[in-house]
């Protein structure tokens, strides 16, 4: 299994919110996130963005 760069890892972390990743993609992403604090923060921030943007317009401007 290929080791991902941080750019590839963040790209997959983004795509995982938009499509079902293949098995190899999931495994290599999980492996990368387990050892890379920067990318795992970014992956969490992507999920947070989704929550925040959903709430846009539901509250008073």
């Amino acid at each position: 299994m290929k080791l991902l760069s941080c750019k590839e890892a963040t790209s997959l972390a983004s795509q995982r919110l938009d499509r079902r990743l293949g098995l190899l993609e999931r495994l290599s992403l999980r492996l990368h996130l387990a050892v890379c604090d920067g990318c795992s923060r970014v992956a969490k921030q992507f999920a947070f963005l989704r929550t925040a943007v959903k709430q846009l317009g539901e509250r008073d401007a």
């Binding site: 590839e8 938009d18 920067g38 947070f48 925040a52 943007v53 401007a61």
Partner: protein
């Protein structure tokens, strides 16, 4: 009847801002809001008993926005994203390690956070912003967004990735690390 009309009218500035954010086109936003308000007037009876007028109107407006997005899209090539490239070194590893954010959940309780988020959304390139809002705000699936924007799925995933990377950077600079 007159009361309903004027309370709807009072929401117009808010709705206009909401539509402008997603359509990036003042005239198109005005059209969408106008159509939404007309539809709302015609549907007064279906509002009866609901608690929040703004939420109801925003729901109608969302449909009008999706209709407009469906009408007006053209394919363009993927351009490079220099801001994104600058985050990584020649081996595609971080140049500067992304810092942790201070209390993101608490931010969701703050009006100013949403103002910062809107500002960051406005800073995105038009097509990137549209793909992102269709996905994350309107909740459309990628294949539907591809169709509306006349782009391939791969292009769509690239745009969504760029949007997320640009927004997280913008929020970091203008909110979390401020």
């Amino acid at each position: 009847m007159k009361d309903f009309r004027s309370s709807i009218e009072a929401e117009r500035p808010y709705l206009l801002r909401y539509a402008s954010l997603q359509l990036r086109d003042r005239a198109a936003a005005e059209d969408a809001v106008q159509e939404a308000l007309l539809a709302a007037l015609a549907a007064e009876r279906s509002f009866a008993g609901r608690s929040n007028l703004r939420t109801w109107l925003t729901g109608i407006l969302k449909h009008k926005i999706v209709d407009l997005l469906r009408k007006g899209s053209r394919e363009t090539a993927i351009e490079s994203d220099e801001a994104l490239e600058a985050l990584f070194d020649e081996n595609d590893h971080w140049r500067a390690f992304p810092p942790a954010w201070r209390d993101p959940d608490g931010s969701l309780e703050q009006k100013q956070f949403f103002a910062a988020l809107e500002m960051c959304l406005e800073g995105l390139p038009e097509k990137t912003a549209r793909a992102f809002m269709m996905r994350e705000h309107l909740g459309l699936e990628t294949d539907e967004i591809c169709k509306e924007l006349a782009i391939t799925s791969t292009h769509c995933w690239v745009l969504l990735y760029r949007a997320r990377m640009a927004l997280r950077k913008c929020l970091e600079l203008n909110w979390f690390m401020k």
